[in-house]
Symmetry: C3
Subunit: 359 residues, 3 copies
């Protein structure tokens, strides 16, 4: 059955555990202190802990006997000690002491644990998951999250679904259906339907998606007639200044969506935990300064924080946790953004696999 | 080890998800209204909903992106709309609108979702699970469930075991052991043992099972002596008119057991959910009319409803949920009904597999 | 990466479900009465029940239809009856009656269920899990558990980890790290580090492990300096008479560790339930008699029972349940006991596999 856009099914070529040679958000700065924190990203167990110089990330498996280092503690400045036999690692991942074996142990200097590059910016901790040398943070993280004091709010949630369904929907047309009943769209003249356009970005790392056309508030459909049928409340003509994004959103490698609203930039970053679970980072930010920034923050806390960041996202979570992502599917015109996104994603996954095979 | 009846082990030739070219009970009429209801039968997700013309059943996966249609709603007379992008299907399974794409969308008329034939009779909704054209309902459903006003009671339970163990036991000899302590048999002169006879039905769709012989109330066994040992209460000679079936029960394709009691017909229909779960439909019905029907209903509600439909069935559930069905087994004379049933079932499963392979 | 001791990785040659041709503890005597008790050991379901002559163990699957006999009951002296069809087995595993089939049934005398040799000693029930003829109990069970009235206490716990990690740690050096903060070691002059020595026992059935050297209470480590840093409380010089074992512990086939403390012998017996769960038997015993025995018992109940049997073991359980046993590992000098233990264990597993292949 092939209708509208035909596209070979790339779903099984997509990396269920995510792309590796990229920066990802690990958590809020305040989550990481001197007490080690274990967290799984992209299927890898990692321990994070803060030293005076900043946050560090090591593989959360002691190379001695496979014990999670995150169950250990910081017995010496700049180190973490395994709770089982006291093997102690510095923030470069080098074993500096095997407490159980004494000062003469041959272990220190010869055993190491993998480390992950970490950067902290704007109250967020970022980790580079690649095997290769880390790129600059700004290669992967959108500028609106790196500018000083730009982030208004960050929410973190764990959804019981893969990251692939969790990222695909902000660039399609489901808003006019799935979120029509939300407070966020309640007073908007929401179009009955949309036509989606998508273009691969110039750097090959994403897809720009826009509404190429929008239907009227009501339209007449063959077979079923007028839809939507009733919406007296929309006729009030009220409109929240923040409702409706500006017609452009962007899917970007490794796993994020950006959208610009009149008074807020929105980023949803879906970080795979394992193949069936995803940690979702929802960023609200603003480029404005001075009074405009103040107005945007106020607008966020009075309106977007609950109508969008809470209600819309709860609706999305319910949808994706119920979706049977790998069921037979029939993509159509409005899925053009998803089709192009999958091509970009699958191509990058193939490059990464090749790199790993080569060495 | 082969004792008594030797029979090649057919258990792995039996269809763990059930036979498909048959009618099954889906639920009570009152369960299905305008709100879609998702239900899994034979491993397939199905959404049921009621229109003025009756109840309809569609595959519970939107062909667009795999979303359960049962999470959607009825926005237009005679349709169901997917909650994700608003693809709308009529009760023939045809897509009549893709709300997100507008009136000009090429999707309607080209995409469809599978439908399942449904009939409603006597307060019960029946669904045909086959790929081929549906047979008349009366081919599969026993007459006592189709006659007007014949059903006295229907109970539905989900048991945590496969449907194969759940159906096999009403045709063997476990009553005289497993249910001896139940109120239902408390005042009966329950035989110490039975001899089972079984005959394939003339239409090849079932097995008739009867007690060919019954032991006395007590008997003397080699090695162990008299059994049962004490049963003063049975000597009272009291006997409920409804206790003890009339010596004949019938296993029938696809997955039901019928038994006639003096004042009640009993049907247990085991509907596979998945390989490890079964929905069990317990029907009590009567052929009588007029005062006799009234008496039978009274007798049911005063006696059988709790002594049989509650207590006996609870005992069965506990047994089957603990049984290791695929462990090595040693069938014997009293299992002749099960042996013949498995032959009938395996033969039909093979015919179905062949049909599917051919087309 | 190979440091210190290099050893081929034997972990996958170890029997995840345990060795079979050995005696294991099944439970406390008082757990087994006339009511059958089902219990899984080494992946096998077994039913235990007590007759006047002692405790018996049978396979917990009725050979008829796979029902757990432990759901049945004792209807006749010296037998157990299946709850489903009343097949009745004596303590030799022979079917003595098929109640559902009557005195003439051909089943009795022809069907049997596997039995396991059982011995009861000193308030503990032991079961032989092998296919071959049972050895004397004293071949496998340490003498301190068989002497009359020697056992002071037995605790049984189920840990959510394999038996392999659960047994390996009492013969390494983790005490000086993992248990340093426990009450048990609080007032001891615990060494900063140890050097471990290990010797295969003369009978080839175990490994003796001892501390060949011990570091001072504090030592100076390169890179990190003095460790442990603070321990004013240890300077008090107080020392519980029971703290610290006498420098020798022993790993023994099939799955136990023995250690001698000044006033207590300690045995930890790890009995596999399945590949991911282990039942741990913790025995405290004493060889002393008369007043010395009394003193040892008092010392146990006042001190060891909570500081060692509760706190230390809780620390161990937390560690092992978190350990990723099959992660890449890097053994070192202090693991010499584990390396030798794995060789003994793998060799025995190979002998057992060969025996099974031969017959």
């Amino acid at each position: 059955m092939s209708v509208g856009i035909s596209a070979s099914d790339l779903r099984h070529a997509l990396p269920a555990l995510g792309l590796r040679e990229f920066w990802y958000p690990a958590g809020r700065s305040k989550e990481f202190g001197r007490r080690p924190v274990g967290r799984k990203l992209l299927g890898a167990d990692i321990v994070f802990l803060r030293e005076p110089g900043g946050v560090h990330a090591l593989s959360d498996r002691c190379p001695h006997r496979g014990m999670p280092l995150s169950c250990g503690d910081r017995r010496f400045e700049g180190t973490i000690t395994c709770p089982y036999h006291g093997w102690t690692f510095n923030m470069h991942g080098e074993c500096v002491a095997a407490l159980n074996e004494g000062p003469e142990s041959p272990i220190p200097g010869k055993v190491r644990v993998r480390t992950y590059p970490v950067e902290e910016r704007n109250g967020v901790v970022w980790v580079f998951m690649g095997d290769g040398p880390p790129k600059p943070l700004s290669d992967d993280v959108p500028e609106e999250l790196l500018a000083g004091r730009s982030i208004i709010d960050l929410r973190v949630a764990v959804w019981k679904c893969g990251w692939l369904p969790a990222i695909e929907n902000l660039v399609d047309s489901h808003d006019v259906i799935a979120h029509r009943t939300s407070a966020f769209y309640l007073f908007r003249k929401l179009p009955s339907w949309v036509k989606v356009g998508a273009t691969e970005t110039a750097d090959g790392k994403g897809v720009d998606v826009r509404y190429e056309a929008m239907g009227p508030v009501h339209d007449i459909y063959p077979n079923i007639g007028r839809w939507p049928r009733r919406s007296w409340y929309r006729r009030l003509g009220m409109s929240s200044p923040n409702s409706g994004h500006q017609g452009l959103s962007q899917l970007r490698l490794p796993s994020l969506v950006r959208a610009a609203f009149p008074r807020m930039n929105y980023v949803r970053w879906t970080v795979p935990i394992d193949e069936k679970t995803v940690r979702v980072f929802l960023f609200a930010s603003t480029n404005a300064t001075g009074l405009a920034a103040l107005r945007n923050r106020l607008s966020y806390w009075l309106w977007m924080s609950w109508s969008f960041m809470t209600q819309i996202l709860n609706q999305d979570q319910r949808l994706f946790e119920g979706q049977d992502y790998f069921a037979p599917e029939q993509l159509s015109q409005t899925d053009v953004g998803i089709i192009k996104w999958r091509r970009v994603l699958a191509a990058c996954a193939q490059r990464e696999a090749q790199q790993r095979a080569n060495g």
